[in-house]
């Protein structure tokens, strides 16, 4: 039988506010455990929440970016359950009246067509803390780190509109691109700034009724998400084809072992006893405020990609690679601004730079080579001061933090020799020193001479300590050897 996969996503996006959703504690990542948790985050008796207006504005901005209706009145509710990383014993979230209503996001499919993915709603909520089961907390105890407790999130709930792992990943990447472009999320996946819960079901192709779904929770990379979906789809299809049934359950995917396991079934699900939080007033947003935020929306990825393609004469592919992520786009534009070389900038950023960043698991915002430095390098490539081979060496040196391109070129004597007189002299010296090679070259078949030319080139480059402009050297060599043939 042919099966159709049906996927819906719940995406948790950490908002890039300075402080928490309901307290003044910092949200910065990576601090010592429990140093960024105040009395409110610890749910000390008598403490009260006050909502962070910046978080509300960020949620509204997301709603505007996906063309959703913004609720004039939204309500925070308490979701009750006990867990040590949830200090109040309830999570403050939104249920009946979320701040962002239905909207849509378009994704590009592999065949180049666009597809619209529906957003059911998006709501504001606070994150929980973290339980630590390692290090000092080995066998008998678990530690709790409440630094993350109370960090503002928007949870974006999609319609079950995706039909493959690839579509789900495209959708996830598009959301990443939107929230980073808006500046409402730092997009740092490895730090948990975006986390995905994936609802997956399968059904016989051609039918419309939804199959029983499972939810794979807390995926924090596009790669894991794709793997987890493929694994779960296969599992469900195998199960159904063997005459079994899919049980509605929550599953966890382990990216290291590439396996998944059941966490809890529907029967074990909590009764969360939601009710409106009496410590908080309904969030009331005026039309004026919404319009003010709309007026301040930064450029969104779709518009930026179109602009990149037109303004910088980039291919659709390059425009998409450089235009989707806000930090990458900003980096690219800085490099172009300073170097005037859009094509070279595009190649270097999507090539060497992104490979290095990936290899060291760094975000572009943390790149050891700044946009200014890369522009400096590109200027020297464009004016033929250095060869592209030298440029890679300079780039690597810059990556190690050893200064700007010009400085490295100067310090290491890397400057390319483009003086044709000097190159000619080098060529003459090489030719004079290798009469046997010349004889060989002249006597060989026309078709094989190109390969033999490489031998002379090697000698010339060696003699120039790699600094001769290779195009020029090649041209001069070829001319001189041709003259020798004709003169015979």
């Amino acid at each position: 039988m042919n099966w159709e996969t049906v996927i819906g996503l719940e995406v948790h996006v950490q908002l890039a506010t300075q402080t928490k959703l309901f307290s003044g504690a910092s949200t910065a990542f990576g601090a010592e455990p429990n140093t960024q948790a105040c009395a409110i985050d610890l749910a000390m008796p008598g403490t009260l929440p006050v909502v962070n207006q910046q978080a509300i504005d960020y949620a509204i901005m997301f709603g505007l970016a996906i063309d959703a209706e913004i609720s004039k009145t939204s309500v925070f509710e308490r979701k009750n359950y006990f867990y040590p990383d949830l200090p109040k014993g309830y999570q403050t979230t939104q249920l009946e009246k979320p701040i962002v209503g239905a909207g849509e996001v378009s994704i590009q499919l592999a065949d180049g067509n666009e597809k619209s993915i529906g957003i059911h709603h998006a709501h504001l909520e606070e994150d929980a803390g973290k339980s630590l089961h390692q290090g000092n907390f080995a066998q008998e105890y678990s530690g709790i780190d409440l630094n993350r407790a109370g960090t503002p999130l928007i949870e974006i709930v999609s319609e079950p509109d995706m039909r493959s792992a690839q579509e789900a990943v495209a959708f996830a990447k598009k959301l990443h691109s939107i929230v980073t472009s808006l500046g409402i999320c730092d997009g740092h996946m490895a730090q948990g700034s975006m986390r995905f819960d994936v609802n997956i079901s399968v059904r016989p192709l051609g039918t419309t009724e939804l199959g029983t779904r499972t939810e794979t929770k807390n995926l924090n990379s596009f790669k894991f998400m794709e793997e987890a979906i493929q694994l779960e789809v296969e599992r469900q299809i195998d199960l159904l084809e063997d005459g079994g049934t899919v049980i509605q359950e929550t599953r966890l995917y382990n990216g290291e072992t590439k396996t998944a396991k059941s966490m809890r079934s529907k029967e074990e699900a909590n009764d969360y006893r939601y009710f409106p939080c009496p410590d908080l007033l309904p969030v009331v947003v005026t039309e004026e405020h919404i319009e003010q935020l709309r007026g301040q929306l930064p450029e969104l990825p779709d518009a930026r990609q179109v602009r990149f393609a037109e303004a910088y004469q980039l291919s659709t592919y390059d425009a998409a690679v450089l235009g989707s992520d806000a930090a990458t786009a900003a980096y690219f534009e800085q490099v172009v601004d300073r170097s005037g070389q859009a094509k070279l900038a595009a190649n270097w950023i999507s090539g060497e730079l992104s490979a290095q960043l990936k290899a060291e698991a760094l975000e572009i915002s943390d790149s050891p080579v700044s946009a200014e430095q890369l522009a400096g390098l590109i200027v020297r490539i464009a004016d033929n001061s250095i060869s592209s081979k030298m440029a890679k060496q300079v780039f690597e040196t810059m990556w190690q933090g050893e200064g700007d391109a010009d400085q490295i070129i100067r310090d290491r004597g890397l400057k390319q020799v483009s003086d044709s007189g000097a190159i000619e002299q080098l060529v003459d010296e090489v030719l004079a020193a290798n009469p046997k090679m010349i004889e060989d070259y002249v006597n060989t078949d026309e078709s094989k001479r190109k390969k033999k030319l490489g031998g002379f080139m090697g000698q010339v480059m060696k003699a120039s300590k790699g600094q001769a402009n290779p195009q020029q050297a090649n041209q001069i060599l070829a001319e001189k050897l041709n003259n020798l043939i004709h003169n015979q």
């Binding site: 009395a39 610890l42 749910a43 000390m44 008796p45 008598g46 403490t47 009260l48 929440p49 006050v50 909502v51 308490r78 009750n80 006990f82 040590p84 200090p87 109040k88 014993g89 309830y90 709790i144 009764d271 006893r273 939601y274 009710f275 009496p278 410590d279 908080l280 007033l281």
Partner: protein, 485 residues
């Protein structure tokens, strides 16, 4: 000295007739000597009090010290006090020392008031008799066999026993007014949002409100002036100017329209109490007020609605007491479930557990609409009753509670009988309105309270009416027989 009112103490201090250290030492000694009888205090803060008193004396030596500078007060043990154990009457918080002050405490500190100690209360403010306190029941100074009311029974008894001229208290369903009535003192629950809830340990967040207790309305006005403030740390605090509540105390009551709700004089009201209240209402007529019979038709629904909403909110508010970060933790938990179950079973008393269970049940899937949803609708109806009533009257008056103080144990086995103690007070919490209780008589030697309900933020008018009555009556000046004079 213990018979001085706050106004008199403040004047004596400003005039340098005596020092804050003198009166503080006097009252500390009195509390140490007498409170064994009443158990009205959980903690006596002797050192803190003396330090605050000498600081106040230094401020008083200069000019422009605030009105309450140097005045000794008692704070209900529900208000967090930095560095001083704040138990909320519970074993759960017997070891809890807050690293912060409630805004109410901050306000009094800024005014230079002196904290003598923290008063006893029903556990987590759940109770109408002060019998649910982990620290044992408070005895009513008027009748040691009887309850002082609750939950602010410690504050009421302390003021009645002249351990302090004033105290702070909180009121979720009547917890200021009912003990004030039973102990013969004056207590005011302000409009919801008038007094900050920051640092006031929550029972039912949409109903809780702090307020003052003292012997006179004038003293309550002085305390409220300091206690009330807009607080950006409390989202439900109302940003509205705090008037001088003393400014209108002496206004004439000529033409004042007093609504008398039919439903507050029905079955269940003790005859002696009714007589005392009627006599007080006649007194108001003599003062120029006009009595208008009104109806608050949904009064009967207030207790059932309250006992859904308050426990529902409490069930979530008390989830934080889980033994993980502070407060009581059971010994040697063998796993997480065991830690939760035993910590909460051992740390909370019976009444608190009962309300957590009721609230949890009311919010459960399948029951939410029938209970919580319906109760919220009733709450709207009750609010609407008052809105209608205040179109034709300025104040509403009636009994504070159905009968005077009852003996210990009398209602302990019957929670519904206990809950009906608050039948006249609960509606105002549901509506968010201000209410107060002033002494208006004695029945068999036990005090009776007259309840005054005002429109939103109309505390000044309520205090004016209470003050004018206290100018022509003496009930508020009576001291319980048998307390040391």
């Amino acid at each position: 000295m213990h018979n001085l009112t706050i106004a008199e103490i403040a004047k004596g201090l400003q005039d340098r007739a005596f020092s804050s250290v003198e009166i503080t030492e006097y009252l500390l000694a009195r509390a140490k000597r007498l409170d064994r009888q009443f158990n009205s205090l959980i903690t006596l803060t002797e050192n803190e009090a003396l330090d605050a008193a000498s600081a106040a004396d230094q401020r008083l030596a200069k000019s422009d010290a605030p009105a309450l500078c140097g005045v000794p007060l008692i704070h209900k043990d529900i208000f967090c006090t930095q560095g001083v154990r704040t138990s909320c009457g519970s074993k759960m918080l017997d070891n809890f020392i807050p690293p912060y002050n409630a805004t109410v405490i901050e306000n009094f500190n800024r005014c230079g008031a002196v904290m003598l100690g923290k008063s006893n209360m029903d556990e987590f403010a759940m109770g109408s008799s002060n019998e649910t306190s982990f620290y044992g029941p408070v005895k009513n100074p008027w009748s040691p066999d009887c309850v002082p009311g609750g939950s602010s029974g410690g504050s009421a008894a302390a003021v009645a026993a002249r351990l302090a001229a004033g105290a702070t208290a909180t009121d979720t369903g009547g917890s200021i007014r009912q003990p004030a009535a039973l102990c013969g003192v004056t207590g005011l629950k302000p409009t919801y949002g008038r007094v900050s809830r920051w640092g006031m340990i929550a029972f039912a967040s949409s109903l809780d409100q702090g307020g003052p207790m003292a012997r006179t309305a004038e003293d309550c006005a002085l305390l409220l002036n300091c206690m009330a403030s807009y607080d950006d740390k409390d989202s439900t605090s109302v940003n509205r100017e705090v008037p001088d509540h003393c400014a209108e105390l002496n206004n004439s009551l000529q033409g004042l329209r007093i609504g008398v709700p039919r439903e507050y004089f029905s079955e269940g009201l003790d005859a002696g109490t009714e007589q005392a209240v009627q006599a007080a209402l006649s007194e108001y007529q003599k003062l120029g007020a006009q009595l208008i019979e009104i109806s608050l038709p949904n009064t009967g629904l207030s207790v059932p609605a309250y006992y859904v909403i308050a426990p529902a909110e409490a069930s979530a508010n008390l989830s934080r007491f889980d033994g993980v970060r502070y407060g009581y933790r059971c010994e040697d938990p063998h796993d997480l479930q065991d830690l939760y179950c035993r910590t909460r079973a051992e740390g909370f008393g019976g009444e608190v557990q009962r309300r957590i269970l009721i609230g949890t049940y009311c919010l459960s899937a399948g029951y939410y609409e029938a209970y919580y949803g319906k109760a919220q609708q009733v709450r709207q109806l009750i609010r609407q009753d008052f809105v209608e009533a205040f179109k034709q009257v300025d104040l509403i008056m009636g009994p504070t509670c159905p009968s005077p103080a009852f003996p210990f144990g009398a209602k302990g086995s019957d929670p519904v009988a206990m809950y009906l103690e608050d039948i006249y007070t609960i509606s105002t919490n549901l509506a968010g309105l201000p209410g107060m209780s002033i002494p208006c008589g004695l029945v068999e030697g036990k005090p009776v309270g007259l309840q005054i309900i005002g429109n939103y933020f109309d505390e000044a008018r309520m205090l004016n009416a209470a003050h004018r009555y206290q100018q022509v009556s003496d009930w508020h000046n009576l001291a319980p027989e048998g307390i040391e004079q």
